[in-house]
Every structure is written in C-alpha cells, then in structure tokens.
Amino acid sequence: MADELYLENIDEFVTDQNRVVTYKWLSYTLGVHVNQAKQMLYDYVERKRKENSGAQLHVTYLVAGNLLQNGYVCHKVAVVREDKLEAMKSKLSTLASVHVYSIQKALLKDSSPLYSTDYDIVKSNLQHCSKFSAIHCAAAVPRTPPDAPRAPAQSQRGPDAASVVNGHGPPAARPPPQQQRGIMGMFAAKAAAKPQDTPKETKAEAKEAPGVSATSSKPSIKNSIMNNFFGKAAMNKLKANSVPEQLKEEKEVAKPSVAVAEPESSPNSVAEKPGKKAESARIQQKDKRSKTKRTDRSDDEEERDPENVKKKRKRIKQLQSDSSDEEADIPPSPTREEERAPSPPLVPALKTELEPASTEGSAAGRKRKRKRVLKSKMFIDEEEGCMVTEKVYESESCTDSEDEFPKPKAPAPNKQPVLPAKREPKEERKNLKKGAAPVNRANKQASIMGFFQKK
C-alpha cells in the first residue's frame, strides 16, 4: 500500500544508507508536505520501537514555546535530542509546537549534521524551496526574465537626469542597429574574398539580430579571448563597455532567432576569423593613415550615435594605442582601404561583434569548422613563366578549436592576409618579384652563415 511505502523508504534511508533524515530532507525527497513528512517520521519511530524496542534509532525533536528570559517572555524555538525533550518542555511556560525534527542511526554530538543535511537538500532544490511549505505566499512571484534585466534599463531611460552611473540607458535601443550594420558591413567587405561570405552575407542580412544575440550570449568567453588578443589594459575598458551592451542585446532578441543563429556559428566563425584579422589589420592601417581621416570618421560616427559610439570609439582608440605594438607585425594591406570604405561606424561596432562571434564560434563548436591554415601553394605564374611557391591562408575544415594568434604573425612579412582574392595575386606577384628571396629568408631563422657572408 502507498501508505506503507514511506515507512520502507525511511527505513532504507536510516538503516541502509545511514543518513540523517530530517523532516525537510524527507519532504523534498518524497515530494510531500512538510507536515506530512514530520508525521511520517513520527509514525516510523513509533512503529519501529514497537516492533523492536532495542532499535538503534536516535531522534531529535523541535520544541517551541514561551520562555521567560531576561525579563521578557521570549518565544523559543529549539532543536533538542530526545533525551532532553522533557526537560525542555518543562522549561517552557506554554508549548506551541513539538514534532520530530530528524531520525538517524547514530547519536549526534551536535546539530551540525542536521544543518548540513538541510543545507544540501535546499541547495539542490533552490528553484522551488517553498513548494512543500505550509505557507504559500501569493506575492512571491519571480520577475519574468525579459523584465528583470530590462527593468533597470527602462528605469534609467525614463529619468535620464536622475540615472547615476550608466549612460547606457538612453542609447540602449541604438546598439543593435549599429551592430547589424556592422555585421553586414563586415560581410559586404569580404564578399569578394571568400565564397562562404556570400551565402553568409545574405543570411547575415536576414539575421543580423541573431548574430548579435548569439555573439552576445557568451560575454564571458568573449572577454577571455579578447583578453588574449588585446591585452589587459584595453581589456578592462572593453569589458566595462561591451558587457552592458551585450546584456541589452540579449534582451532585445527573440528566442527563435538565437536558435537560427546556431547553425551559422560555423560559417560565422570563419568570417569572424578573417574579420578579426581584418580588424587588427584595420587598426594597423588606421595608425598609419593620416590623423585627419580618423577624425573625419569619428565626426561621422559621433553624429550618428554620439554616446554609444563615442564609447566604442574610445575603446578602439585605446586599443589602437595599446595594441599598435602588438600588431606591429601585421602589415596593413592596400586592400584595407577598400574594406574601410563601406561604413566607418561598423568598424568599432564590428570589433566587439567579431570577437564574441569568433569566440562564440569557437566556443559553440568544438566540432568541425572552417579554419584558416597557412599552407604552401605552388602554381605556375604564366606572366613570368616560372613556378611560384607561396604561403597562403586557406580555409580548411578542421576540428581544432583553438584560435591561433601566432598565425597572423607568421605570414606577416609576406603580407598575406585573408581577403580580396583579386588583389592577392597581384600582391603576391609584387612581393615575389620584389623581394621573394629576402622575404623568404626573413621567415627563417638567421643562420650562422650570415656571419660569414658579410665578408
């Protein structure tokens, strides 16, 4: 019978598993009201003792009632061992409640096992910790997820003057369109370069928001990858600015779009990788470009979206100064000019998106994904009538999930980045023509023969 089942359960817990069975633990484990659990424990104790008076069973009780203490009538709630139960009851002037608290095989020295049992079971049931309680509160309603993070943003948007720290409130609506254009711009720039870009591009147009949300869903991973890439100083600024943005994007994107974004993660990652390199190269380029151009663009950006982009702008500028040394060996390629043309604000927006996108890709896919691998390629150069060997980044499917930063540095002297294919042959040819030999040698370690050749 169902009634007797609990007796067997308790028996098993106490004697076989040698547990400390508190009423709360039993209530969660059997899924019953706390009062029923208390009664079950009592019932078990009574029956067990009736059938076997020498049963090794120790019980603790909860006693509550009035007690005169320090001149005040105090309501005392105490957990006592069975042997002290009567003594405690007699001390109380009025008894409010008494029930079984726990049953265990061994005699407890102190109440800490009781605490730890209760702590563990509550910890594993945090989501519905008042489910079996005797009091139900109608007002205790969890905030729905979109409301919870949105509430602070909205309240900040409202009283803008009164909002304290974040200026993120007002421009909350603006980042998504910015980044959408950013993603688009990035894809548009690489359309010629990669065949994957075009299908991605169309998809990206349709699903910019998901892309943003997918990327924004892993801010923590993004941070660690960005950390590697940009160094700690820039990192902190990025973190501060981009995480609130990420959170906002998360809110604004619907669920289904996130699901759709998933299959894109692998093509995204490839695009992100070239994008990343493009970014770094772009940074480099900016450094080398005239200051006026930069200020022009920053003016543009500020017109569009003063607050938000200015923030991004600041970040990028910092990055540029910080990372300019790091990226020194990534050469600017003339192709960069083309890519920069599309839309200036995309660049900073791009930055944050690329990083998370690539990490999202790498994080999401410990599976097959396309990666750029440095490979030696041999072809007959018709013009010159010679064979040419060159190192080229080629997209390759592999299961490696590590982003390899040394890679950009390796072909640096060769000036081989990703992109526009039509430019590549020209460049390569130029490079090879001009200084294939010294360039190739620059790749290798300086050999000891150099010492002798000077003569």
Binding site: D3, L95, A162
Partner: protein, 472 residues
Amino acid sequence: MSHAMFSEQAAPTAQGLLAPPSAEPPTFPRVPVSGYSDCSQPFQLGERSFSRQYAHIYAVRLAGMRPGLERCARKQWGNDIALRKLSELQAGEKCCVVGTLFKAMQLQPSILQEISEEHNLVPQPPLPKYIQPSDELMLEDELQRIKLEGAIDVQKLVTGTIVAVYGSEQDDGRFLVEDHCFADLPPPLPWNGPSSDRFVLLASGLGLGSVSGEALLSTQLLVDVVTGQLGAEGEQSCAAHITRVILAGNLLSQNTQSRDTINKAKYLTKKTQAASVEAVKMLDEILLQLCTSVPVDVMPGEFDPTNYTLPQQPLHRCMLPLASTYTTLHLVTNPYQANLDGVRFLGTSGQNISDIFKYSSMDDYLEILEWTLRAGHISPTAPDTLGCYPFYKSDPFILTECPHVYFCGNAPHFQSKLLQGKEGQRVLLVTVPDFSATQTACLINLRDLTCQPITFSGFGADSEDRDIEVGH
C-alpha cells in the same frame, strides 16, 4: 500586557504532528501586505559629490531645528524669555540660546594628531568609550562658540546635538546653564494600524561568512519558522501572519572584512577570493528561501558591501542574482523608513547608536535610542565621529515626524519599550540584537505595537543548558 503571540494561539495543536500522517495537511496563505510605501527617499543619494565641506551640514541642521527648539524653550521657560544669538549675549542677562553642542574630548581619535610629527604619537588603539572626566562642552551657533558649565550633563551629551540652554554669561566668558532642553518628540503621525494580528520580523547581524558555524543552524531555523516549514500547524498558521521581514544590517560578518590581501605578498593571495564573496552567495540563498515566502527588506550595515558613510545605499541587486528575481526582495537604505500596513517604521543598522555609545556615558542601547528620539535627530555624532555624506541643502537625519516603530540593529541585547509622548505620540522602541551572537530576532505585532523576542537554538556538546536562563 498581552502576549497573545505565537505560543498561546499555537498551543492547542502543539502536539498535532506527533501522529501518523493525515490526509491533507493544510497550507496557510501568507497574509498579504495591505499597504506598503517606502519613505526612504531622503536617504537615497543620486549623484554624489564630496567636494563640499561638512560645515554646511551643521548649518542646515541648526537652521532646521532652531524653530522647534525655540518653541520648546518658550513652552518650558515661558513665552517672554529672551532668545539670543551668541553674538548678542550680554554678561549677566538671563536668556536662552539655541546652538549645536561640541564636546572637546582628550581621548577622541584625531587623525591630525596621529600623523603630526611634532607629537610623535603612536596611533591610539580603539577604546570602547572615549569619555573622560576632563571633557568640556561648548555651544556653537552660526558665528561663535561658548563654553558651557552648570546644569548640563557633560558626560552624557555628544557633539552635534542641537540644544537650547537657559542661563547667563559669566564674567569669565563661560555660560552658566540653569536649564536646558532638546527638541523633544516630533509631532505624532495618525494611526492607521491593522485591526488584526500582523507581525513583522526584525532581525539583524546575521553575520554570514564568519568562522564559527554556531549561528548557522539558528539562521536556518529562523528561515524555516518564517517560511512555515518548522513548527506544528498552530505555529505555522501564526507564522503566516508575518507579513514582512526586515533585516537590519550586518548580514555579513566582520570576518569578511579582513584585508589580509593588502599585507600579504601578491603571489600568496593571487588566487584567493575575498571572504565576502562566499558569504554573499550564502546570503543570496537564504534570501531566496525567504523571498519565495515573504516580502523582505534588506538594509545594509557596517560590514556589508556598500558605501561606508551614512546614509548607506542599498546593496546592489547584481550581488543577489537568485533572490533579486523575486519582487518580494527589497533592497533598501540605512536608515530605512517605510509605512507598513499603516504603521510608520524608522530604523538604522545600529551605527548611529553605537557611535553615541562610544562618546557618551550612556551604556544602554535602549536609553540611547530613546535619547536620540527626544533630541530630535537620528545621528547627531555624524559627521564628527561617524562618516556621513556632506549634505548641504537639508539634514535628512532630523526627525520631523514621530514614527510608530523606531529600531536600531546590532544591539548587544534585545530590549523594547513603548513610549508615550505628551502630544499623543506612541512609539515602540526596539533594539534588535545581533543574531550571530544572541540567536534572537524580534517579532512586532502591528496591531498593538507589542514586541516579542524569538530565540533559536540547536544543541552542541557543551551547550546543554547554556542558553536557558530562568528569568524572574
């Protein structure tokens, strides 16, 4: 004195659960809060600027309290007394002066003296009290100050109190006080309390993150009583009448404040977490259990992760991710003021009272609490010895209305007193004890402003009869 609290109502069904399981155990609905409004706006700081001097707060304090004190003075010493400013004093003339007290204490810690090279002093260790028989009282108003002597208790009073003194200036330049008075109880608020039993649980000093696990079971028992898990049916149905829980500060233990990381070498402390991180996680879980069952107001205290100066701003909800998803969690300021079911609550986490304790001869927290109410100011020693925000427009610690419940947290013992004022004020003064030390919280019945302490205990190897004291 009626103690129609838990025990009497619960007694009939006390042993009900010592029985085989019954079919349908009852579930009691939590009595909803009929009216709640947060009145802590004066204590909420928006944009903060610390570029101002603290002299302004004394100026607005004096300006704000002067009218009330002049009224009290006239009531006490006659309508025709002369009210003078210090600059208008004439020797020998009996008059009344309203000003701010300043107590010159030799032992008062002074950072300027400590770092002064000519004195070459070793920093003074913290003392429980800094009073000395040689302390002197001065009265300051907007322009001048004068030394006080006579019928005024130098040891008891503290700096920053606004007082009206009646007496005359002597030839040696001191003011001989014949009588003095304070602002007295503020005007009463109308009473809109509930007609049926409704309880508010006040607890403070949970002290999570401390090394000892003594109070942990008691904390769990507290949560279980409030959420209706513990106790027989009668007790649970009484607990369902607890409409609110107020946690008055020091949710974290002083141990979490250790700044060992500053003294140790970096390589030793690189991977260590601040002790408060673990403690805040524990706090989050406890608050989650409470919030699923009852509205909770959480006030920060001396050891909690918020700003140091009064008024302390609410804890940030990002620290409590699990609990802050519930609308029943309210993170509030210290001091905290609110209307609960028509009853006005005002209280602090205890820093104001403990600071006065250090600089006054008064020893009893309840006495100090009452004294602050009669002096018309929540924390007169701020900003002199207690950190405070440099207000300049108005002093939010001036009491303008008499609350119905006035409490302070983290007191050494539980004490309560119902104060009746001359103008019909009725205030319940409560000193909420430090839970980590006493395992005691307070239950206030809003219907009749009675208060009962509620104590929790487990059992240990040596704690058999330690906590049971037979009272008289």
